[in-house]
Structure formats: structure tokens, C-alpha cells
């Protein structure tokens, strides 16, 4: 027994009618980690999460959640997890406080002091009716309801899409605290910075399959460094095979390069007379944009 996996998905497929939403998705989340689940709109994030929660039935593949089958062992598993939906819809005539208590009780009880603490930190007015809340405030109700319970696993589907920057900060703190308590978190998002600062590992989904998965530094290593240089003489691209994506504009050269061969590139370029040089560290942003871009054109519903 090497690693304790809280979520194990292999070869998951799910279609809506003739439209394939997931086509052979693999996902594995270790206990105690915050796992970022990232991808463009319509890539299949919410569908995956709904299968994990037993709301949708998988067409094929194996899905294990907390050691059980999410479709069969619904009640036992759901006692041990909490969920924040992507689209929070509250009962129009019910107050936020009532909704928090209802969801908490149905899950098997909530921690009173943590509930009070979260309501205060998120500056939530729990006496307003569901229909009076703004998008962000609805989201806060759902977040408080989920985090006020003591659970092993938090499943968060784009939880901060309506929060202001201050509340986003509070959210990062509370997730950090949850992690310290040993809670596992599956955090779906299309906002990179949020995931980057919270997640131990990332899985990037596109078109219903995982296209990249690993720790943040793993993924960083897979991206390339960008250099911008102003040169006295310009090399022919064939003379500098170590550089990729070479673009030349006047006497300026822009290219990408493997992080491991920066030294080699420098020594080559020195021969051409460098008058200015910028080296951009590898960014996930560029990896994302590249991955997202390849998938552009075939949009899919969530």
C-alpha cells in the first residue's frame, strides 16, 4: 500500500445523448492534498464531479471515491464529503442561515463554532432570503454550508467565480486551514492563479480527457522559458537549433527554450552581440494558453 488515494478514476466515459462529455478520463487524488482540476469552459469538469457525487451514472470506466462506489454507496460516502456546486441556487423564500443548517444537518451535522466563524469571516448576512442574495453571496452560503461540516473530502466546483478579491482571500485562507486539518480538496477552476497558490497537484482537462497531470513544479518543468534579446547581428534560425519558435522583429529576437538549456543558449547568443536580454521564467499561464488553444473550436457543454 503505497499512497492512500481518495479519488481514483480510470477510463471514465459519459455521454449526453450522442454528445460525448467525457472520453476516457483518468484522475487520481491523494489523501490530504489539494488537487487542482483545471480546464476551459465546457471541458467536462462539472460532469466529472457529478459522476463522483453519484448524480450522474458513468457509461464506462471505474470510479472509486473514498474507497467506495459513488453510485452505489451514496449515503455512506456523502457523510464524509461536502460539495460546493458551480451554479448555486438557493430556495427563494428560505434564508441563507436556514439553507446552511438544512444542508449541514442532512450531511450529518455541522460544527457550530466553525459555522459562526465562517459566517463572520465571509461577512454573510444569514437572515436574507435566497432570492435577495447576489451571485457572490449565494456562493458564500454554499461555501459556509460545505466548510462548516467536518469532512474528509471537499469537492469544490468553481467555488469562487462570483467572489470579490477580499472574499477570495478569505476563501484561500479557509481552504488552507482545511488542508491543515487533513482534509482532501478537489478544486475545479478555470482561474489559474487560484489553483496555483492552493494546489499541490494539478490535472488539466480538455475535451473530456486529462491532458496534463502532475505537481506544479512538474508542470512548470514541462513548459519552456521565453527569452527576448536585442542583438547586433541576427542569427539564421538554423544556426541556433537550441531555440524554438524563433521570431525576429528588426534587431529583436524572441524565442522559447527548454529550462535546462538556458546556459547553452546564452553562450550561443553571446557571439551575436547581446545589447539587452530578458528571460521569462516558465509560466503555467503559457502552458494553459497553449493547451486551451489546441482545443479551441470544439466547445462542449459542462
Amino acid at each position: 500500500m503505497a499512497v492512500d488515494r481518495v479519488i481514483e478514476v480510470e477510463g471514465l466515459t459519459k455521454s449526453y445523448g450522442r454528445f460525448p462529455a467525457l472520453r476516457g478520463l483518468d484522475l487520481s487524488v491523494e489523501r490530504g492534498q489539494v488537487h487542482g482540476f483545471v480546464g476551459p469552459n465546457g471541458a467536462g469538469k462539472s460532469t466529472t464531479i457529478r459522476v463522483l457525487l453519484g448524480l450522474l451514472k458513468a457509461d464506462a470506466g471505474t470510479v472509486r471515491l473514498l474507497g467506495g462506489d459513488p453510485w452505489r454507496d451514496v449515503v455512506a460516502l456523502h457523510r464524509r464529503l461536502a460539495y460546493v456546486p458551480g451554479e448555486v441556487s438557493l430556495w427563494p423564500g428560505m434564508t441563507g442561515g436556514e439553507a446552511i443548517d438544512l444542508l449541514g444537518t442532512l450531511r450529518g451535522g455541522l460544527d457550530e463554532s466553525r459555522r459562526a466563524d465562517l459566517v463572520e469571516r465571509f461577512e454573510l448576512d444569514p437572515s436574507k432570503r435566497g432570492r435577495q442574495y447576489s451571485k457572490g453571496n449565494k456562493q458564500k452560503v454554499a461555501i459556509v454550508a460545505a466548510l462548516a461540516s467536518d469532512v474528509e473530502l471537499l469537492v469544490l466546483d468553481e467555488p469562487t467565480s462570483g467572489l470579490d478579491p477580499l472574499m477570495e482571500n478569505v476563501f484561500q485562507q479557509v481552504i488552507g486551514e482545511a488542508k491543515q486539518r487533513g482534509t482532501t480538496v478537489l478544486l475545479s477552476s478555470h482561474i489559474l492563479s487560484e489553483v496555483e497558490s492552493l494546489a499541490d497537484r494539478l490535472s488539466i482537462i480538455r475535451d473530456g480527457v486529462i491532458v496534463q497531470s502532475g505537481t506544479i513544479s512538474d508542470l512548470r518543468d514541462r513548459t519552456r522559458t521565453t527569452i527576448h534579446a536585442a542583438l547586433d547581428r541576427l542569427p539564421a534560425p538554423a544556426d541556433v537549433p537550441v531555440l524554438g519558435d524563433v521570431r525576429i522583429d528588426g534587431n529583436r529576437l524572441t524565442a522559447t527554450i527548454d529550462s535546462a538549456s538556458i546556459g547553452e543558449a546564452m553562450s550561443v547568443l553571446t557571439g551575436y552581440g547581446i545589447s539587452s536580454l530578458t528571460v521569462e521564467p516558465p509560466s503555467l499561464e503559457s502552458l494553459f494558453l497553449r493547451l486551451y488553444d489546441e482545443g479551441a473550436g470544439d466547445e462542449a457543454p459542462r
Binding site: 448524480l55 441556487s89 443548517d101
Partner: protein
Amino acid sequence: MSLALTGTAPLLRTTVRFDGRLYAPWIVLVTALTSTSVLVYPWVFPTEADRAGLAAAIGSNPALGLVFGPARDLSTVDGFNAWRTLALGGFLAALGAIFAVTRATRGQEDSGQAELLASGVLGRESRLMTAVAVGLVGSLAVGLAAGLVPILFGGSAAATVLLGATFTATGWLFTAVAAVTAQLGSDARTANSMAVGTLGALFILRGFAYSIEAPAWTIWINPLGWMTETQPSTGDYWWPLLMAVGLAAILLGVAFSLQARRDFGLGAVAPRPGPSRGSVRSTWRLALRVNGGPLIAWAVAFVTLGLVYGRFATSADDILADNPAVTSILAAGATTPDALRGELLVTILSLIGIVAAVPGVQTMLKVRFEEMSDRVEPLLATAVARPRYYASNVALALLESTVYLLIASTIMGLLIADSDLGLTFDQVLVQAIAVIPAVWTITAISVTVVGARPQARLAAWVGVLASFVLTLLGPSFGLDDWVLAISPFWHVPVTTFGSPDLSGLVWISLFTVGFLVLGFAGFRHRDLAR
């Protein structure tokens, strides 16, 4: 065009294009109702004797008058058509108008569509004007189709066109009513309930007023009474329709002035802050809470229904005695007063039972509505198993129908026991209890639909509709027993005399169980919110 109405024309075109097909069923339904009357009458009742028999059959069951109004002349095809369709056709035309207006006003505000529209180049009054226009044009279409098509099948022009005009006038009236309730209710469901409640109350009061031969003013204060007083084929009066048009115009004025006063997305009544801690902590309490408003409104409706039908039943003997056809059947020994009274009681209680299934079906459809509004998903992501969630709602649906039927029949029983009809309170209540299994069967159909095939939402109403048509219209059409037996209410035994045969109730209960099992299995195994 004034500034306040800018953009009405393009908005109306779009609304008609997208909502038009939702109006089509109402047009088809009402047209089918009038056309079938005209087609079927000469075929089922070819001779004078058949027609006299029909008049006697309908006269001997005054409960039918509660729904259809007075049967003025059943010896001509136009008189028959007027009796059979005037009340029901108007009711359907009004429902179509109410739903269309609410959809284009409150419904859009609830879904957020209206906000997109209102931020565009659109006058303040344009959205309401569009909704009203859809209702007016739709009602006109109902009246034209239902008033012209039967002429092709042999209806006389004067009577049929007037009949169609009453449908249009009723539709216009309730377009205006819905325009007002859309301003008062805080969401689409409340707005619809208020408008349909008004329609239902006026409908029942009209039937009641005619059935007990109440003073004329009770008919003339009821806008639906104006429709009946046009007397297609026996009188052909057009002028009562002018009153309806006038009232509609006044109500529309009220609606527009209310709309000018209220904030977007809110009702006339502002919401107050509520408790910051919750007492709803189970799926059962949640089902009660989510259905709260309608539960109370329906309870009031059934108290009224019990009073009205109870008062009506106590005068049944007089009504029967006044009917020459009935006197002759009795004299011929074909039936006994006891049998007539028993049949009458079963008919009334079946009618109440069918109406009592309506809130049950609504509760089941609410499950689907909640599901599509993404509110079931977070619940089922907690430790609530699907069967438990569904069971809470199914239990509520069956229980509320039962309680409503019992409320109405208790009040009826008290009134009847106090009269000289010759039936005791216990007899009425036992007969009501015998109706309960039939109510459950038609409610259970909606449990199957919502559980297993929620995409076919309208199918949830099949039980209610079929029972209504077969129980009330079937006998007068001389349909075969096997057709009538499709309605579970046909199997309800008369318990007030003789020894009742309960086997029919066992059969329909087996169907009830089957429907429930299908519903639960479906809900357990299907994808959610799809």
C-alpha cells in the same frame, strides 16, 4: 408609438416565434372539444328518443351541472355543443392565456431573461405590453379556430361563432387577470396560482349558482356567468361579451399602473428578513416548506369546495324532483331514489377527488422544477439517499390529496347530515374514503412520470385529464364499460346502500403500487437534472 412602448413590436415577434408553439396545444384542445361535439352528436344521438334519453341522463345527475352549467337545449347539435363546451372551452382558453402572460412576465424575470431584455432598447411598459398582446392574440386564435372549424362539420354559423367569441372573451379577461397577478406575486408560480385560483373560484361559483337556481345577481356578478348568459343557440346574445371586454380593459389599466410602481424582479409585497438559523432539517420538512404557500391556498379552496358542493347536495332532491325526465325514470321503476342519491354522491366526491389530485400532481412537478433549478443536486450531495428524498415528496403528494378530499367531504357530510336528504355524516365520509384509492392512482401516474421520464412533463397530467373526461363526459356518450373502466373512478363502489363490491379498489391499488415502483426505480437510476 410612445416611448414607454419602444421595442414592443420586435419583442412580440420573437415571443410569438418562441412561445407560439406553447400556445398551440390550447388552441387545438378547445377546437377539438367543439369539433368533436358537433361530429359526435348526430352519430351517437341520431333520433329524438336518443336525445330525450341524453337530456334525462344529464338531468338525473345534477352534479354535472356544477361543471358544465345549465343544459338549456340538448335536442339540437348547437345546443349540445354549447352545453358541452362553453364552460370547459372558456376554462381552457383562460388557462392558456394565464400561462402565456405569466411566462412572458414573471417567468422571464425569474429566469433572468427579462434583465437582458430590459437593458436593451426597450420601453418600460414594453415587456408587459408584449405579454398582454400574446394573451390577446392567442385568445383570439382560440376563438377563431374553435368558432369556425365546427361549422365545417355542420354547426350553425351564428351559435358556433358566438361560442368561439365567448372563448376569446374569457381568454381576454384572464389575460388581464394574469397581467395583474404577475405584478402582485413575487414569482411565476405564485402569479400563476393566484390567477388560476381566481379562475377556479369563479368557475365553481358559476356552476353552483346555476345548479341550485340561485338568484340572478349571483350569476351577473360573476364574469364567467356573462359567458353562459350569451346562451349560444338558444338565445344568441352578444352584449354580455361587451361587459367582459370592458372589465378586461379596466384590469389591464390596473396592471400597467401596478407595474409602474414596483421594482424589477420584486412583487408588490417587499420581502422581510427571516430567521438566521434554520428549523427545516429533514427532506420531509423541506417538502412542506417548498410547497408551503400552495398547501395553504388549496386547503382554503377545499373548504370552499366542501361548502359549495355540500350546499348543492342538500338541494339535490328538489332538483331531481323538478326534472320531468327523472320523474318518469323513477315512475318506470328503472331506478330508485336511493340509487340516484348514491350515484350523485359518488359523482360529486369523484369530482372533488379529481380536483384533489391536482395539488398532488403539482407537488410532484415541483420536484422536477427544483431539480432543474439546481436545488436538488446539493441535497443529494449530502447523506440523503435518492429514495428518501423522493419518498418525502411522494408522501406529501398522496397525503395532501387525501387530506383535501377529506376536508371537503367532512364539510359536505356535516351539511348533508343536517338536511333532509336522507344520508348520514358517516355514509358521506365512508363514500369519500372509498374514493381515496382512485385519487392515489392518478397521483401515482405523476410519480412515475417525474421519476422515470421527467422530460415528458405534461404526461403527469394524463391521469387527471383522463379521469375527468371519462367520469364526467363518458356516461353521456354511451361509451362502452371497458373504455369507462380506464378511469380509476369508475371502480369506486357506491357504499351508501346495498353491499359494496370492493374488488375494483383492489385492482386500481395494484396499479397505484406499480406506478409508484416505476417512479422510485426511475428516480433511483436516472441522471439528475437532465
